[in-house]
Amino acid sequence: MAATAITLASARRASGVHSGWVTAAIFLPPAIALFTVFVILPIGEAAWYGFFNWNGLGLPTNFVGLGNFVQLFANKVFTRALINNGLIILISLLVQLPLALGVAVLLADRRFGAVTFRMIFFLPYILADVAAGLIWRYMFDGDYGLVSQVATAFGFAPVYLLADTHYAFAAVLIVIVWKYFGFHMMLYIAGMQNIDRYLYEAAAIDGANAWQRFRFVTIPGLASMIRLSIFFSLIGSLQVFDVIRAMTFDGGPLNTTHTMVSFLYIFGITRMRVGFGSAVGIVIFVLCVVVAFSYKRLFMRDD
């Protein structure tokens, strides 16, 4: 009788139904609570504040409907910021990722120098955006910077790249490629380790040249990693801020180097226009969610 009771008790415990539920009730709430208070509620509130004209004091009462959004999309600086974010995406996809892939191919094997080169290329990624931005602000400085001194050494006039409304954002794009290509290179190298070596040998026996081996073995083998890296690029591109702050401080010259987030900071936060700033946040949020979901749906279905 006693033995049966013990067996039943341990069987109940083994099934885990009861004690598992209790443990979950202790283990989960801290995470859920923190996440709700500091992530979900602010997002919900942004959607709420976005319809008000509010300076953050008292309660939002001045309901303006879609006014903030209308104002936002009529704002030339914001349009330029949107374009700039688009340019970051473009440069990431067309320059950064191919560069990362090319370098990854050169460094995939354990050939001479591979270790050192990989570490060098990864190095900028571990630096803070602010530090990277300031380093390049120096590089592009017309009076002291290296770029300008190279130009003068070749007999050209000093180059004030960051003061030039046409080229200042190009300088920002260079820094973004410089800082992030090493991260994507590491992803590709990690992906290449999972490609079966025999595929290369088989391809070589079949007479495939280096390009064909790259095109028909490496690329398909890396497909899911490439998709992942594109996804990281897209989401990352939408949140660029620190680099802008370090390189051009307030989005200058003439507001040509803003991104959506730096626009939000300068025109929403520093002026405490909570409603207007929240509307910018909502636009960024919607773009992020659209990117994430459509990307998952379109490309990552089989992963």
Binding site: P42, R110, A128, A131, L134, W178, F241, Y265
Partner: protein, 297 residues
């Protein structure tokens, strides 16, 4: 012995095998390969070198000689910063915030990840998706309401106004990585422990956690690096200079010495030095940790 290697163990091997593996092949197999690599490496390294060396020059020399070594090494640029309290306080502030962020991220996300990996309860799928939703958008989207929230909670201008939101925002990636890793552990481990009368909390603390050190380290590294480099949130949440973490301190210093690039370069060098030192000391874990988001499970 059951094989307890997880997807993350394989990821560590994949990203870092080259650190220990012997060099193969002819070093000069392709001259072009080396040419391209040296060119790219030069573009990566030159700005960093120019920064470090520029910090040793005086302003006049920096203006005419950005490339070469300084004629006179002006150590006082560096000593001036190192002997002041500002630099050290910025680092201490950053360390304090990052330390608490790492500790709380692990303390909150590991139990939650365990619940999602090995327990069954009402609404588990919904709650998991709820947390994972946090992966899709960055800090910036909600920064204004977050500011209001921090203010209303009385956390404005305190480290906790940074630490708690950071932990909350890192939860999604941490829970995802940890849950996937916990799931990869053989389910027999949990089942046989249950048979032996071991409760879930003890299974978590005595079996799951000790077997998951690599992924816990990865999550800790991600949280640390993100916190160490975080800029926007402290920028919004703090307004007392003595509480600044180093990225704000660096911007403040730059704003103060705007045109004295030699001093600014020295300050930049000193602030990136800890990151580079950490990187060189723990390359393997840092590379594996920062690319851990790529591991699917």
């Amino acid at each position: 012995m059951t094989d307890v290697s997880t997807a993350f163990d394989r990821h560590i091997a994949a990203t870092t095998e080259f650190l220990t593996a012997p060099v193969r092949g002819n070093p000069f197999a392709s001259l072009y390969r080396l040419l391209v690599l040296f060119l790219v490496a030069g573009l990566v390294i030159v700005p960093l070198l120019a920064t470090v060396i520029g910090g040793f020059k005086d302003l006049g020399e920096l203006r005419v000689n950005a490339f070469g070594l300084p004629r006179v090494w002006h150590w006082e640029n560096y000593w001036g910063i190192l002997s002041g309290s500002g630099y050290w306080r910025y680092l201490a502030n950053s360390l304090w915030v990052a330390g608490w962020t790492v500790f709380l991220t692990l303390a909150v996300s590991a139990p939650a990840a365990f619940a999602f990996a090995h327990l069954h309860f009402f609404g588990e799928k919904f709650l998991f998706n709820y947390l994972i939703f946090g992966l899709t958008f960055p800090f910036a989207t909600a920064i204004l309401p977050l500011f209001i929230k921090i203010r209303d909670l009385g956390l404005l201008d305190t480290p906790w106004g940074i630490i708690l939101p950071q932990v909350a925002f890192y939860l999604a990636i941490s829970v995802l990585l940890l849950r996937n890793a916990f799931r990869q552990l053989p389910v027999e481990l949990v089942e046989s422990a249950l048979m032996d009368g071991c409760g879930y909390p003890r299974i978590f603390f005595s079996i799951i956690l000790p077997l998951s050190r690599p992924i816990l380290a990865a999550v800790a590294i991600i949280a640390f690096v993100m916190s160490w480099n975080n800029f926007l949130l402290p920028l919004v949440a703090l307004n007392t200079q003595t509480k600044y973490p180093w990225p704000l301190g660096l911007m403040d210093y730059q704003g103060q010495y705007m045109t004295q690039w030699n001093l600014v370069l020295a300050f930049i060098t000193l602030t990136i030095l800890p990151a580079i030192a950490m990187f060189l000391a723990a390359q393997k874990h840092i590379v594996a940790g920062l690319t851990a988001g790529a591991v699917k499970g």
